[in-house]
Amino acid sequence: MDILSLFVIVPVLTVIALVFSKGLKQARIISMIGSFIQLGMAINLLFAYFKERAVDKSVMLFTQDYIWFENFNVHYAIGVDGISVALLLLTAIVVLAGVFISWRTDDLPKEFFVSLLVLATGVYGFFISIDLFTMFVFYEIAVIPMYLLIGIWGSGPKEYSAMKLTLMLMGASAVLMVGVLGIYFNSNADGGALTFNILEIAKVHIPFEAQKLFFPLTFVGFAVLGALFPFHTWSPDGHASAPTAVSMLHAGVLMKLGGYGVFRIAMFLLPLGAIEWSWFFIILSAIGVIYGAFGALKQTDLKYINAYSSVSHLGMVLFALLMLNKTAWNGAILQSLSHGFMTALFFALIGMIYGRTHTRDITKLGGLLKVMPFISVIYVIAGLASLGLPGFSGFVAEMNIFVGAFQHEEMFYRVATVISVSAIVVTAVYILRVLGIMLMGEVKNEEYLHLPKATWFEITGILLLLIPMLGMGVAPLWLSDMTMESLQPFIQGVLNHL
């Protein structure tokens, strides 16, 4: 069995094992073991990748190809480059941390972990696919468990949020389906056979008219998952209602599928369309960056603050990708990774705070630094990373994004960049505001003085996320080199047409 297919097989086996488990204890142990194996595989893949990369310079490594539907030329084709390897590692870490954070799921535990791992299967499969059809299948598999996860185990207006999120994301994927079909039926433009293989299609000169038509469909199909303004509204409601582990996984990993799909499919396969349309989507994503930041400023619910902050941060990813140059793209990848760890950490901490105080309203909280020092200190660290302080992962990413974006000489791009950069200031304001109100000052509620300490599984979950985040900030170069190298063929495909 090849090293990549295991990423799909192991979660599926875990799910099968879960189906036969009984009770919470068995379910969580099985999920933990399964996720541990995944993490081990992801780390192993990282080293194997370095080894292989030294000798093999092709775009995708560890490629495998099995024919699936012969008449449509659908293949189960897999392969990875540095970016997918990094994102697979992110996924494995967040899934494991999510299992730890959900250690005490009382209601239907088996079903919870099954849904969680089905979601993980979809994400893993998406990152390893290099066949459009396979990728699309995994994309939908990743989205649909969210409905049950939010609907059954969520809180607040969960039915509404779950339905809104699912319909918007599945609607986007339906639009994406049209884009995928459009790309497929134009993949014989140079006279070859119709194909779904990404690397093959990239060599084809799809006519400009078709690119102009299908780029927006493909882009929007992916970008809705990356919270593109004005299609971001599923995200705050969805995150606020979701249980902790699901928010972590969703904001940390699932939303990254959007940005990943945008550069790997929409821009790589339809470069002329990307150039044609970039100005329009730059405006939308710049609005998203600013809007998300101001939205976070006005909220008092911790989860809403974080959800809007995600809209803003992921708006930057889309913004950077639309700038169509290498530095900005690299910033986008780094931002995806950094945001993945950071936001998962945030949601884990919020879950822990909520589990103890039973409120997420920052006006009712206060002086938490005195009552729960561990959680509060980590919250401060995550906050500082979020506002892009040098030495943390966010800084490296945002630096790359804006330096890259400013390289454009046209006025339009520069103005857009300046506007987006200003969001950083707002970010600092909303982060520090939360820290100030929630962590500093007097303890507002006497009951909070006797809150339980963080348990071992919570601490494990948090450290799992904290360490890579700090690592990225301290030593960004090896990661940056790896992604930069892998980006080269993709950005080159676009630049050739500029």
């Binding site: 699936w68 539907f69 012969e70 008449n71 449509f72 659908v74 059809f133 299948v137 939908e140 598999i141 649909i144 409905y147 049950l148 609907g151 059954i152 969960k158 039915e159 779950a162 339905m163 699912t166 319909l167 599945m170 609607g171 339906a174 639009v175 389906m177 049209v178 079909l181 459009g182 497929y184 039926f185 038509l213 469909l217």
Partner: protein, 476 residues
């Protein structure tokens, strides 16, 4: 008639034999042992289904009135499997409710005659045979719809069905006679050669199309659907929604792709409009349905709209994707109807709100239902996704991107109401949930078959490739 013609018609002959055996059995069996006829009928039909899987060669009989080939034979097998599942799911209902009223055996006889009609309809080589098949397949169903004579709603549905069916088949017959007037022949092979696009043929085609559109319940000929499904016994409703619809869609496809090919520039446009209307009206009306049978009725109208996306192409890809989709749809819809029937038989409840909290009391049934709904909504990795993706691909291959776009909008709308049922079963809690119950063996067998179909048909790709190969027959 020689041996070869017997072999070519063996599906029809065997089914007829079963029918006659049942009549004989009904006469001679002891009154207290009528129940055993249910097992007998199921057993015979099971054998019939298995025998069907033996291959057949392309043959034409009775001077071209009756023809069969591998694709037609394949489709008959699909119908057999579907009917077998319908029978398995209805067996308990027949045994418990109908046999005491002395209406058990006749149920099978009428159902089999209708199936026989469908065989003749899809095997027809001329319009006469086609029309006889159409009538034979429709009339027995009218009796079946009104089968629960004690219920007023059932009788009403029966009347509604027979009146609309009569009107539709009248229109169809008129259309056929106009086509005959224009071409001077009723044989498919002859008509193709002389058919040209004139006002007369156009009128003939439209009337003829209306008759079949009624059977497939395309908008605007769908008005009977919801009322009839609601009033009919659930087994009959599922038969109508799957077998009857599938067979009619199949013969419509064959006729459009072969006999009526010269009129393609006309029927393309008609189908485009009808497809849009069917998808939108089916989906929008399904949104507000509370009764599960009505809900499935509108959902099946919408699904028929999706089938038209494959019909519009007129290519081999279109044939293959339509047949594949119908096959998937047979299993998927029967799974949904099966769960509704299991619950209705046990508790008499048919509304969506009654399903609240079902997962906590009956997890297996809920999972089957969820699988079926996801397959109807087209969510991977279950078969419905592949069926829909391929249909859309077929339409896109001819450049109908706008149609595909509007179709995916419909998929999203449909996802909403399918999720409403999932919400009721999994998320909502109820003070008075449906208590735990165990279905009888036949019902469970029927559900397991559908689940296997839903899971295997999509992931097992050689099946689609096989259908694609068979489809060359009608696209030379």
């Amino acid at each position: 008639m020689n041996l070869n013609s017997f072999i070519a018609m063996r599906q029809e002959i065997f089914l007829l034999t079963i029918l006659l055996l049942l009549i004989v059995g009904e006469i001679f069996i002891n009154k207290n042992k009528k129940e055993s006829l249910v097992h007998f009928a199921l057993f015979l039909f099971g054998i019939h289904t298995i025998i069907g899987f033996f291959a057949i060669e392309e043959t034409s009989l009775f001077g071209g009135m009756f023809r069969t080939n591998t694709l037609i034979h394949f489709f008959k097998n699909a119908l057999n499997v579907g009917v077998l599942i319908v029978l398995l799911q209805s067996a308990d209902w027949i045994k418990e409710k109908m046999v005491p009223l002395n209406k058990g055996t006749e149920f099978f006889m009428l159902l089999f005659s209708s199936l026989l009609g469908m065989y003749f309809m899809i095997s027809a080589g001329d319009f006469l045979m086609f029309y006889i098949g159409l009538e034979l397949s429709t009339l027995p169903v009218a009796a079946l719809v009104a089968w629960e004579t004690s219920k007023r709603i059932s009788s009403e549905a029966g009347v509604k069905f027979i009146l609309s069916a009569g009107l539709a088949s009248g229109a169809s017959l008129f259309g056929i006679s106009l086509l005959y007037a224009a071409t001077g022949s009723i044989y498919f092979a002859d008509i193709t050669e002389v058919l040209t696009s004139t006002n007369l043929t156009l009128l003939g085609f439209v009337l003829f199309f209306a008759g079949l559109a009624f059977k497939i319940s395309l908008v605007p000929f769908h008005f009977w659907t919801a009322d009839v499904y609601e009033g009919a016994p659930i087994g009959v409703a599922s038969y109508l929604s799957v077998i009857s619809k599938g067979a009619a869609a199949f013969i419509l496809m064959i006729l459009l792709f072969t006999v009526l090919k010269p009129l393609m520039h006309i029927w393309e446009n008609i189908i485009y409009v009808v497809a849009l209307a069917t998808m939108f009206i089916g989906n929008l009306f399904a949104l507000r349905q509370q009764n599960m049978k009505r809900f499935l009725a509108f959902s099946s109208i919408a699904q028929a709209g999706f089938i038209l996306l494959g019909l519009i192409t007129g290519t081999q890809l279109g044939t293959a994707t339509v047949v594949y989709f119908i096959l998937v749809y047979v299993f998927t819809n029967l799974a949904a109807f099966g769960v509704v029937q299991a619950i209705a038989l046990q508790t008499g409840k048919e509304n969506r709100d009654d399903y609240n909290g079902l997962y906590r009391t009956n997890p297996n049934l809920s999972l089957v239902m969820m699988l079926a709904l996801f397959s109807l909504a087209g969510i991977p990795p279950v078969a419905g996704f592949f069926g829909k993706f391929f249909l859309f691909a077929a339409a896109a291959s001819k450049g109908y991107y706008l149609l595909v776009f509007l179709a995916v909008v419909n998929v999203t709308i449909s996802l909403y109401y399918y999720l409403l049922v999932v919400r009721a079963m999994f998320i909502r809690k109820s003070d008075n949930p449906i208590p735990f119950f165990k279905s009888k063996i036949y019902m469970r067998l029927g559900l397991i078959l559908t689940v296997l179909g839903i899971l295997v048909l999509g992931l097992y790709s050689p099946l689609y490739d096989y259908i694609f190969e068979l489809s060359t027959i009608f696209n030379k």
